[in-house]
Symmetry: C2
Subunit: 273 residues, 2 copies
């Protein structure tokens, strides 16, 4: 620091120890490239440590005056907490520790079970509208979960990748379009394989060509929709200022359930009844 307490450079501790006492400190000093403003979020600071492999970092105010420093040990705690936070939020269990009281944990999980119940009854409402279709072809009721759960599985895979990529600042609004396209393409590739598999399983089980086509087409489309929603929902939530790790899971499974039931039963009503 200079006379006005403004940060001008840093000296590694190892240099201080290994140099004779006569040298002037200004000659040993390196330019201080690494400093953060005091208002920077602790998660962003942890990100700087993570990417640049630092051992300490100076903290400065608006006029670049030195306020203090952060050591890498502190960053470890933040990185650790942050990872745990994202991890638990993704399942809608929130910021609870393993040793928390039962009532606290119960309350923390309540909200997402609540949204899931609303979503599930909304799915029931969709299915109920196809009551007459199912009455004529009960087998549709048995096959509905295949389409819905494969879409949900594909959606959760894309979602987990996207939430992590957002946290690591690899997925941003600017590359959102490219990332979504990529995920959709992955969903489509796996969808092709699994729609073929489902076609043959259904055909050998029920010996009905149209039914097999209906299930394989709706399965392919729902895997693609799942991959799309899994990437799109967290990106949109981040853009809206909502933490994507908290809310995405419920939205994505709700959307894949509803789109899956709707598509499968509509196709079945059109081509089978």
């Amino acid at each position: 620091v200079n006379d006005k307490n403004v940060l001008v450079g840093t000296i590694p501790l190892s240099v201080i120890i290994s140099t004779t006492r006569q040298k002037k400190i200004v000659n040993l000093m390196r330019e201080a490239k690494e400093s953060v403003h005091f208002s920077v979020d602790k998660e962003d600071v942890a990100d700087i440590f993570r990417k640049r492999n630092l051992t300490s970092l100076a903290v400065v105010d608006n006029k670049k005056k030195l306020l203090g420093s952060i050591n890498v040990e502190d960053a470890v705690d933040v990185i650790d907490d942050e990872a745990e936070e994202d991890f638990l939020k993704l399942a809608g269990v929130g910021e609870q520790s393993f040793y928390d009281a039962i009532v606290t944990v119960t309350k923390a999980r309540f909200t997402w079970l609540f949204f899931n119940l609303i979503a599930a009854f909304f799915a029931s409402f969709i299915i109920k509208n196809f009551e007459s279709t199912i009455e004529k072809l009960v087998i549709l009721a048995a096959l509905m979960p295949v389409v819905a759960s494969m879409g949900g599985c594909s959606g959760t895979q894309s979602l987990t990748t996207a939430v992590r990529a957002i946290a690591m600042k690899q997925l941003t609004w600017s590359n959102a379009f490219r990332s979504t396209i990529k995920e959709v393409f992955i969903g489509f590739l796996n969808g092709l394989v699994f729609s073929f598999a489902s076609f043959f399983i259904t055909f050998f089980w029920f010996d009905d060509l149209t039914l097999s086509l209906v299930i394989s087409i709706s399965l392919l489309l729902n895997l693609v929709f799942g991959a799309f929603f899994g990437t799109f929902v967290p990106i949109i939530l981040t853009r809206l200022g909502v933490d994507p790790a908290v809310a995405s899971g419920t939205f994505v499974t709700m959307l894949t359930d509803i789109v899956g039931f709707l598509m499968f039963l509509t196709l079945a009503t059109t081509y089978l009844i």
Copy 2:
């Protein structure tokens, strides 16, 4: 270190700098409590850094001879990688990076979609056995997803908590019983609230007392089963030497789907038909 290169103590760097040159190093030395054997897993080493807030750690061989040291910066990378690994494995996306090639990602996700397809068709098989029940009461087809998805949601909540607790070494085989009991109790508490809610929603929608009772009882039981499986499955997999983060998700949703459909349709067949 002594003459034989055996670790006897450590001196903090700050003590070396701030002490006059005349003092003997043996007087400054603290007893070295923190050292690890060279064969210790890097994730366990990261855990030591995390818990004891160290800046460096000596590495020794079988005879306690000093081999080298690990700094906290290296631990940051491990903690970070480890968190990402658990995080991605939980969704069955494996160890892939955001920038990986599309084909690699597609292959990595294939396995869990494959297991999900098998599980979904197995659920279809269960439902198909109740074909005559559904034929008589088509409304059951519409309500099935409510029971299955609430169980799945509860299971995923417990699972995420358990997988994280296993990774942090808070959940072990020895406290497995107590942890499972706790999760089941949490599932039961939330289950009570949501089974009441479902009872009223179903009663106002379909005006059928027995149907409302059947859905609320099977929903309560499936929330409890979900919490049980969500804790029990990762504990058992860990005990068997399988990484719980990879395989648990598919097992838990498969079990809650199957138990949910089976319980709901059995109760409906017994009391409604």
